[in-house]
Amino acid sequence: MANHNKHIDEATGTETTGHEWDGLQELNTPLPRWWVMVFYATIIWAIGYTILMPAWPLVSSYTTGFLGASQRSQAIAAHNAAVESRSAAGSGLVDASLEEIQGNQGLLEFAMANGRAAFGDNCAPCHGTGATGAKGYPNLNDDAWLWGGSLDAIHTTIQHGIRGEDDDTRESPVAYAIGMQAWGDDGLLNEQQIRNVSNYVVSLSGGATESGADLEAGKTVFEENCAACHGEEGKGSQDLGAPNLTDKIWLYGGDVDTVVETVTHGRKGVMPAWSGRLDPVTIKSLAVYVHSLGGGV
């Protein structure tokens, strides 16, 4: 050991450890006592900690510790607390009307946050995370609303769905069809009639029609068959969920071929009713949130 040839460093008067590297010797400068004490204290702390808290891995589990702390139970407790506080905050929404919610800053902020989360969980799979929709799934950011874009209309739609299983579901109250009639499949119009009426419909919104299309004939077909739902001028009806054919927004596409396909086979867009699956506060929040995206009339 080093103590056999004890060596004192001349400059400092301190003993060296006897280790030498390229002529450099290490001074033996002991640590301060408190430092060592703190070091021991951390060791004792560590031992106590591994006894009290989950620590050591076992073959298929781990030591749970005497305090019974577990991140899982903490997470569950935190989750429950969050749910509870949310329902407390949401209780204000129960009695308030949709307009009242919109007019009250606190309720509005809660409904928006709650609605945004619920939208992501439930609506985004069809309508997209940004509510931009897709072919057959309406874009909720624009101003075209098949079944009405007012707060109440949106609320009703979310509650009862469209052409769904709900007793109060929204559907076209027309005896012969759920959704749009399949004029070709059902043999009600022949191919030429369909082509004519499709060209006419596309022309309503200023779209490109086929050259040589007989728009006059199409108009006649339209007035005899389509105007019942879409109106004489093709402006549609929100009561029937019949789209406005004069605007620039097309759920399935506004070119002649797509319209021909629509007229031939019909369209039966469906949305589920949420009143059985989501609580009323969440549905109200959703209505407020969706309305904020691009709500209209």
Partner: protein
Amino acid sequence: MRADTQGGGGGQSPLYAAAKKVYPQAVKGTFRNIRWAVLIITLGIYYLLPFVRWDRGPNAPDQAVLVDLPGRRFYFFWIEIWPQEVYYFTGLLIIAAMTLFLMNAIAGRVWCGYLCWQTVWTDLFYAVERLIEGDRRDRMKLDKNRWTGEWILEKVSKHTIWLLIAWWTGGAWVLYFADAPTLVKDLATGQAPFAAYMFIGILTFTTYVFAGFMREQVCIYMCPWPRIQAALTDEHALNVTYRYDRGEPRASVKQADKLRKAGEQVGDCIDCNQCVAVCPTGVDIRKGLQLGCIQCGLCIDACNTVMDKVGREGNLIAYDTDINIQRRMEGKEPVFKPIRARTMVYVVMIALVGALMTFTLATRSFEGLNVLHDRNPLYVQLSDGGVRNGYTIRILNKRTEERVFVLSVEGMPKGTTLQAVGITETAAGDPVIPIGPDQTRELRVLVNADSSANLGKSVPIAFRITDTGSGESVKTEDYFKGP
């Protein structure tokens, strides 16, 4: 066990060294007086500042300095800082760092010697100790005879007073985070929040331990500043310096007389060790500048007293620079150059950041507008062929009364409409937004351009809010996206 004794059997080296207790002696003089003054001023500010009132009107706290964590505000006299403005703290930190560097370049570790809280509270604790246990000799004697009646009595009273000071220190700290008089009442009646008691406990403990027991060890082992400052100081910096050119070789008064008669060269230091006895960190300054020296100047006072007594010129230890010792030894005039490239850089930095902060503070508006453009979707087409963009905007009202803002958009063609959810509109169709005192409000705003607009892919626009009362307004620029 001590560093200089061998511990354990077989001549093993000691594992640790017990700290050598320092018994600084009382001292009188210029620097001692300066330290008293600094101690009284700094502690006075610290303990009393929370009780200074500042009238901010009905909806804001009346405390001059307040860190309002739940309300997310920081109040400093006439200044109110919002979370959006934390860059002021960045500025303050830069100024603080630069001031520290400047102090260092001019006069070494003056921060350590006079202003550091560790120094100030340790000094206060030493004062209490001295008051109760007496000066250096009495304290050394006292510690040799433990468990006598006197020892117990003095130790108990010392620690009681120490604990009271430490407790008051922790108590003052929490007062910066709530209305001080109310909190004092709540603390006394046991109704204050748990966090308050916890922080008082933590700070009582740290003050008691750091100022009462760790003392110079904090400076030597725990504080990074002595290491950093070594890199910041240079030969032009004033440091507490033993002028060895004048002091060496040492000789007692008698011996010096003898040697002088014999025609030999003798220094002024009489090796009385007074400078070491008074040093709060137990440093022998005659060995040169070292890590342990906090530059408090007490050894200067001690040595000057000695020099006075023996009738020699004072300032054998003084604030001096390395370069001057060198120069004097070479027979040149001493110089002092506080204005150097290094110090100028610091001064300019301080001035720049200070000016910038003053400017932004002076011109800062009392309303704010943050705009966030929707990304998903960037835009939507409307049924008439127009285009709609969605924005989330946040409006800040930094005044303490409710205000009503009108939101408008600039840079859009005629026929553009604004829609804000849950908001009424002016006759011209602009949203009218009331915001409570000292609050923010987030809104979803839709901007609709009509079909005739024929906009490009990206149009620079600006949102503007205008206070309907005072007419103050701010604007924030953004873009309107199209297909």
